[in-house]
């Protein structure tokens, strides 16, 4: 086995990044795109890493027009830097991923990581309106635009969102952004599943609702003051400082997994975790994060239950050996052959993130 040293490249522009990628691909070198490095544990163990392609110098806001409620950024900008820019205009991007701070926009799009706000705003899949991607042949390809509604051509945003950089390296993106709410209230209860289920069934759906394995429930309401005050009064939970969400977003165990199932199956699945397991969940979404403290075989058993319920269990970080034993993704979908053909059309030599993604 010849061990080659990894080269770290930090191109200063999208064009430079595309040229670096092209040169590496021409030599069939393994290229690993890196954003903020917050999700580096995600995916299968790499078959190789000759070139680390960092987006850290692509960190500009390209355009932000307050009245259009649209922002265009380079992929290497951090979520925090973007939020700071948007806050000046009373706006925000509704994304609050775990293992914050330090995620880049490109990384968040490639990994598809989301947080509690997913309950109300769903994922960037729904508010990403334009994308620019460097392809292994050195081309820069754009999809979408910077208008909030667009059916011109194929939806290339969907092709790259969540594809873990396996078809190309995201270099820029445009988003529909949202106005900061007039009223933003967080309340907490120790009432576990029953409290969570009750809050989710009221006419005013919370913007975020999180349940912890210790039974704590956090609910966030945003919008119209009168409506929120009434629902909060009726719930009778205790008010919590909103900074709780910042602390919450820092969570990232050394070894953890993400469980996604149909909403009505989540409770049953989490109850099947080994006793004493630590997890936190978005019951209204059907997602949970689990601090894995059991052997690989136990994770595989849980995954079998999750998959039988129509869900997925992805490992977000673990030591290589553990990752190999469990497998990062689980059973590939029946359409994996179609996905491989698409991968092949963009990255015929398989230079991008080899071994890390499903295709």
């Amino acid at each position: 086995v010849v061990v080659k040293a990894t080269t770290v490249e930090k191109p200063a522009s999208a064009e430079e990044l595309a040229a670096t990628l092209r040169d590496a691909a021409a030599q069939k070198l393994a290229v690993v795109p890196v954003g903020g490095g917050r999700a580096r544990g995600m995916g299968g163990v790499l078959d190789g890493c000759d070139v680390e392609l960092h987006t850290s110098r692509l960190d500009r806001v390209l355009e932000h027009t307050q009245a259009d409620m649209v922002v265009s950024v380079e992929a290497g900008i951090t979520l925090e830097a973007l939020q700071e820019e948007l806050a000046k205009a009373g706006q925000f991007l509704p994304l609050d991923p775990f293992n914050s701070p330090g995620h880049t926009i490109g990384g968040l799009l490639a990994t598809g990581w989301t947080g509690p706000l997913r309950l109300r705003f769903r994922s960037p899949r729904d508010f990403l309106i334009g994308i620019r991607v460097a392809l292994p042949d050195g081309k820069l390809a754009t999809g979408g635009g910077r208008v909030v509604k667009n059916v011109s051509g194929y939806d290339m945003m969907k092709l790259h969102y969540g594809a873990l950089g396996s078809l190309g390296v995201i270099v820029a993106a445009s988003f529909k952004v949202f106005p900061k709410p007039l009223h933003d209230v967080t309340v907490s209860s120790g009432g576990g599943w029953n409290a969570a289920t009750h809050a989710l069934s009221t006419p005013l759906t919370p913007t975020a609702l999180e349940l912890d394995s210790d039974g704590r429930v956090l609910a966030r309401y945003t919008g119209s003051p009168d409506a929120i005050d009434r629902v909060v009064r009726e719930l009778g939970w205790k008010a919590v400082d909103p900074s709780v969400w910042t602390v919450y977003s820092h969570r990232a165990p050394e070894r953890w997994a993400r469980i996604a199932v149909p909403r009505d199956a989540l409770r049953r699945i989490l109850q099947a975790l080994p006793s004493g397991s630590e997890w936190w969940a978005s019951p209204g979404v059907g997602m949970a994060h689990w601090a894995v403290n059991v052997e690989a075989s136990a994770v595989r058993e849980i995954r079998a239950r999750v998959e039988a319920a129509g869900g997925t269990l992805w490992m977000l970080a673990a030591l290589d050996e553990f990752m190999r034993e469990v497998g990062a993704w689980g059973t590939p979908p029946a359409t994996v052959e179609v996905m491989r053909r698409l991968k092949n059309a963009f990255d015929p030599d398989g230079v991008l993130n080899p071994g890390r993604f499903v295709v």
């Binding site: 999208a14 390209l62 355009e63 307050q66 009245a67 259009d68 649209v70 265009s72 994922s123 392809l135 081309k139 820069l140 390809a141 754009t142 635009g145 910077r146 208008v147 909030v148 509604k149 667009n150 059916v151 011109s152 051509g153 194929y154 939806d155 290339m156 969907k158 092709l159 969540g162 594809a163 949202f178 900061k180 007039l182 005013l204 919008g223 119209s224 003051p225 009168d226 409506a227 629902v231 996604a260 199932v261 149909p262 909403r263 009505d264 059907g286 997602m287 869900g311 997925t312 993704w329 029946a334 359409t335 179609v338 996905m339 698409l342 059309a345 963009f346 993604f357 499903v358 295709v359």
Partner: protein
């Protein structure tokens, strides 16, 4: 004309009574809602997924174009068999297979009519959010193929935001489910790529959609404005205040006149433009929002503001909006409708450009559109019997789209590119951009049998009138 051997294979798949090839009957399938038509060589009326797959296999073996077709209400020529071949009609597949009130999802066949789904879901207190103006006729399959929008997409998002999974038939006749029941399935988002692919990548045979709870309170208001410009400034002001209503629609004076004559919904015919605003939520939130919106509108020259007091009144206001294009038939028998989108702050500029272009060509233009999204619908009104008018109409439409693109906009917000705007794709996408899209097409449909001649520029068919200016918009783009 199809070779008899192919016709016989198709009859074998769908049955004799579901195979159409007599000249008179084929004419019925010549058109969709756009202005160009072409007569298919044959029509098949598929009743099952297996039949759809069988038809596509026959088409693939014989390299014959096949064009999936729903209700034929599309506005960009998506269902027109421009290269001949088979029109694959799916309107016999019209069962709602499942409504799950707990998970708030439905699984439907592609021929289910949009409004019918919401009517049935209402029994469970649920509704299907995307609401194209043609929702009384258009199908969910067609909506998914075109990624259709509608007035309420301002708040709720377009079709792709509500499709959770699909059963599709690919160009080789293979049948697949794309995505599953849980959020974020493993691998590439094939479902997201296939929605809005306009029948060029697959035929859709089942659609799983998200249903939403019917909000307990809905408030709808009509406001008059002295001009299109003041109304568009009011739209910017509402959005600029951080309010995203469920719907925010505009109609100009020409449209209001036609609508009022037909529907008598109480639209003010003296107004330069009217806005129709709707908010929903709880009682408190709709009241608070309507108060704020009312204030912003009157600060921006809004007058004669009227809130619907009963559900019947609300329905009538919406009937006027959704039936507006039909009502325009009172002015001229034909219309040509574009669908460009601009960044919201550019609405006043683009609307005055649209007005000037109409005047230049001496063609009446009626604007009725999704103002909150910046999604224009200028209707150029004309009479097909007036000699050479069609060429003028096309040129005017093209110039309007050009104005949209030059203001940083895009060719289509919800109608699709189809046949109508494929020549203009190089205005907004570079050759590399189009090449990336074409790789997807080549991989999924290597023989090019699925709805050929759509989306991508087709140099053999149409010359771009403004070819000399092509490339401007690409250079002016933001990256």
């Amino acid at each position: 004309v199809l070779p008899e051997s192919v016709a016989e294979q198709l009859r074998g798949v769908v049955g004799r009574e579901a195979f159409i090839d007599s000249a008179n009957d084929l004419r019925i399938f010549e058109r969709d809602g756009s202005i160009e038509g072409a007569i298919p060589d044959a029509v098949v009326l598929a009743s099952t997924t297996d039949q759809v797959a069988g038809v596509i296999k026959v088409a693939a073996e014989n390299k014959i174009p096949v064009v999936p077709r729903g209700a034929g209400t599309g506005l960009s020529g998506g269902a027109v068999t421009i290269r001949g071949g088979i029109a694959l009609q799916v309107t016999r597949m019209r069962r709602i297979l499942e409504i799950d009130p707990v998970a708030q999802t439905a699984i439907v066949e592609p021929g289910v009519v949009n409004q019918e789904l919401s009517l049935v879901a209402a029994q469970h207190g649920l509704f299907y959010a995307p609401d194209p103006s043609s929702q009384k006729a258009c199908t969910i399959g067609g909506n998914a193929a075109e990624n259709s929008g509608g007035p309420h997409c301002l708040y709720y998002g377009v079709t792709t935001n509500h499709v959770l999974g699909m059963e599709v038939v690919l160009a080789d006749g293979s049948i697949h489910w794309v995505t599953g029941d849980a959020p974020d399935q493993v691998g590439l988002d094939l479902c997201g790529v296939l929605v809005g692919s306009e029948g060029t990548l697959c035929a859709i045979t089942k659609i799983k959609v998200r249903l939403l709870r019917i909000p307990p309170s809905i408030a709808t208001m009509l406001a008059a404005f002295p001009s299109i410009e003041t109304a568009s400034q009011a739209v910017s002001a509402v959005i600029g205040h951080g309010i995203v209503p469920a719907a925010l629609e505009m109609m100009d004076n020409v449209t209001v006149g036609a609508v009022e004559a037909h529907y008598k919904a109480g639209y003010p015919t003296d107004a330069g433009a009217v806005l129709l605003v709707e908010v929903d939520g709880t009682e408190e939130s709709t009241r608070e929002l309507m108060e704020s919106i009312g204030r912003i509108l009157s600060d921006n020259h809004g007058y004669a503001m009227r809130e619907a007091q009963t559900p019947a009144e609300r329905e009538l206001l919406w009937a006027g909006r959704k039936g507006a294009i039909g009502a325009l038939g009172r002015i001229k028998p034909n219309y040509y409708l574009h669908d460009g989108v601009v960044p919201r702050s550019r609405l006043p500029q683009v609307l005055s450009a649209v007005g000037e272009i109409g005047e230049h060509y001496k063609l009446p233009v009626a604007n009725v559109f999704h103002a909150g999204d910046g999604n224009l619908h200028p209707n150029i009104l004309f009479d097909m019997r007036d000699g050479d008018v069609l060429h003028q109409v096309e040129s005017a439409g093209e110039e309007m789209l050009r104005a949209v693109v030059e203001l940083g906009g895009t060719l289509s917000g919800e109608h699709g590119i189809g046949l109508e705007k494929n020549a203009f794709m190089p205005w907004i996408y570079s050759p590399d951009d189009l090449d990336a899209m074409h790789r997807v097409k080549d991989i999924l449909d290597p023989k090019g049998i699925l709805n050929p001649g759509k989306i991508f520029p087709d140099p053999s068919r149409k010359t771009v009138h403004l070819a000399g200016r092509t490339g401007l918009a690409v250079e002016a783009r933001w990256w």
